[in-house]
Subunit: 368 residues, 2 copies
């Protein structure tokens, strides 16, 4: 999508074909900086420190990370080491494990000298596949937004709510939750997005607001606390969020706080959709609340926050009193019963085991 | 309660009997500063700028504000002007209107020269009444906490969740939602409080964490987004929140985001109690979602935040990208159906019209 009028993706191969460039998302929205990632350690650090984040983008970064590892040392040992290092960066998103497994299956049978090129090519392919997945989600989701628009007075804005950043910055391009929004906006529909700021890392205020603003989509930032009130008063037509992992039964693991918005949407009859590209669906798990590991991140993400100071520098300030600790679970699970539908690359489907199995028959896992 | 080991209230008459002192709550938790309020303009500003906040404390401040106005000019005209100025400061909390009306009814029949002393005395009485209300709520709420403790393994912590600051800093002393917590802690029960940081003004992280910490109550700050997840995993035994206005049917208007926690508590079978001193009950209104005006505060409370910088100074930083607007509704309404009970000074009652009428028969309003 567009930044300052120019088309960007979140990750792209360097001109020399042996490195990869990313937008450093820890610096947004106040600074726009590009980082060159030249080895697997830098790739792992980029994931762990959230210079790249978002389940789909993490998968692509991991794939490129393995390619860079194969460039340095294409041995079996190093393939194992690099896979383990990348897998250890973040525990919740399934795309990371998915990408590492896909790459390992491709690379392990190859003779070491062939591995780097195969890996680099495959990483680029995964990136292009991700763009295609997101765009397909955009097309299917556009139908939902257009249907709401058709029920409203001509020209009245369709008000969407989204949580965290499941935008193009979380993917390679288009985003997941935002793909339908960009498609609708580009098609000339009047869309307006309420953006949850999404504490504690403020990916909504920092990233979603930034990318919507850069692309020209009307939006308003709200505190995470405000969505329920807006829904009670008919101010939200549609909620669309992303997912870090969706179970075979349609339970949705996403950024902490998503569950609260799903409850409010359900209580007020507001449709609650989850943009779920199939690589983020984990067919090995049924009960999301019980079985998805929830990453506990640093308490400092709660006790401190960064922003643009009066002097134009990015500064970090402490919010809590000395001596008060904090707990920082990064994700929660929204039970399938609260989800109106999953917007997948194969269409909008009901969030239950049968519908997921029908839509993705090749991925069904037989349970004993 | 205690700050640095010394007993404090949030507001107290100055030694000369003609001014009143407050703790400047906009400076907490990083600075502890006392302000002397000497006229009605300063009192109105203290309420509007939230140097004092919390429905009960606002009522007491308004009463003292009227007293200071009567000191300067005890005329009928000034009584009207001062009442109007104070009433215009904040629209949602009912205690403000209640205190102004109570004072006006007392003062209007008096000869002007008698008004200042009567007003100052009555303001002090309202403050003392508030302490008594809060302490009674503490005694009744203690029973709820003790009952939970009795069901847990001996010595296991009772985990409470609270939202915003309905602590002693929101009242004169004890607090409303915190009164049962202080009573339980002081009685030797093992209580631990999850403190919602409570964006956008962070009264939880800044004030509740501060006052619990100063009094020695174990607590953990969490993002507002985290409570649902914790409840899903059995980490919360009991939710207790305050209220800025409760309707005759038990709908609860409180800090934005309270409704989301009530939904999560209901969904997970976690008891959700509201500490509701009777001056915060508005018997003239039945439907809270429809009829309680919700204050829209400055967008800057969402787009900017203050905290302690690395240099030890309090600094304000911008969180959102240039060009992104924000919306800041300050309260929401939790329908009575989600409330397990109201902890009033007359005991714990069901949140419905019949129970409220039985508990406060003298305040029933006949509807046509």
């Amino acid at each position: 999508m567009r930044i300052d009028g120019a088309a960007f993706t979140t990750i792209w191969p360097g001109a020399d074909g042996t490195s990869v460039s990313i937008i450093d998302q820890t610096r947004l929205p106040h600074r726009f900086e590009i980082l060159e990632i030249a080895d697997v350690a830098a790739a792992a650090r980029a994931i762990k420190d959230m210079q790249v984040r978002g389940a789909p983008l993490i998968g692509v970064m991991a794939a490129y990370g393995l390619a860079l590892a194969m460039r340095a040392d294409p041995s079996d040992d190093n393939l194992k080491r690099a896979s383990a290092a990348l897998a250890a960066t973040r525990p919740t998103a399934v795309n990371l494990q998915w990408a590492i497994e896909a790459m390992t299956q491709l690379l392990a049978p190859l003779p070491p000298p062939a591995r780097f090129k195969a890996a680099f090519d495959r990483a680029g392919e995964i990136a292009r596949e991700d763009v295609a997945l997101c765009e397909a989600i955009g097309v299917h989701g556009l139908g939902l937004i257009a249907a709401v628009a058709a029920r409203k007075p001509s020209g009245a804005a369709v008000n969407l709510l989204t949580h965290c950043n499941a935008g193009w910055l979380a993917t390679v391009d288009w985003g997941t939750a935002t793909a339908p929004i960009y498609k609708a906006h580009d098609a000339g529909l009047n869309v307006h997005v309420f953006v949850d700021e999404t504490r504690p890392r403020n990916q909504g205020a920092a990233l979603t607001a930034f990318e919507l603003g850069q692309h020209g989509v009307p939006h308003t930032v709200i505190a995470d606390n405000a969505g329920g009130h807006l829904m009670q008063h008919g101010e939200i037509d549609l909620v669309i969020v992303g997912t870090d992992r969706t179970t075979a039964s349609g339970d949705v693991c996403n950024k902490i706080g998503t569950y609260l918005k799903a409850l409010a949407a359900f209580d007020n009859g507001v449709p609650f959709y989850v943009a779920a590209p199939s690589p983020s669906i984990d067919f090995t798990i049924l009960d999301g609340v019980r079985d998805i590991p929830i990453e506990i991140r640093s308490a400092e993400e709660v006790t401190h926050i960064s922003g643009l100071g009066a002097d134009g520098d990015v500064a970090r300030v402490q919010l809590t009193p000395k001596g008060s600790g904090a707990l920082n679970p990064a994700f929660d699970v929204t039970p399938a019963r609260l989800v109106t539908g999953l917007i997948t690359e194969r269409g909008v489907i009901v969030a239950d085991e049968a519908a997921l199995a029908r839509a993705f028959p090749e991925r069904i896992i037989l349970r004993g």
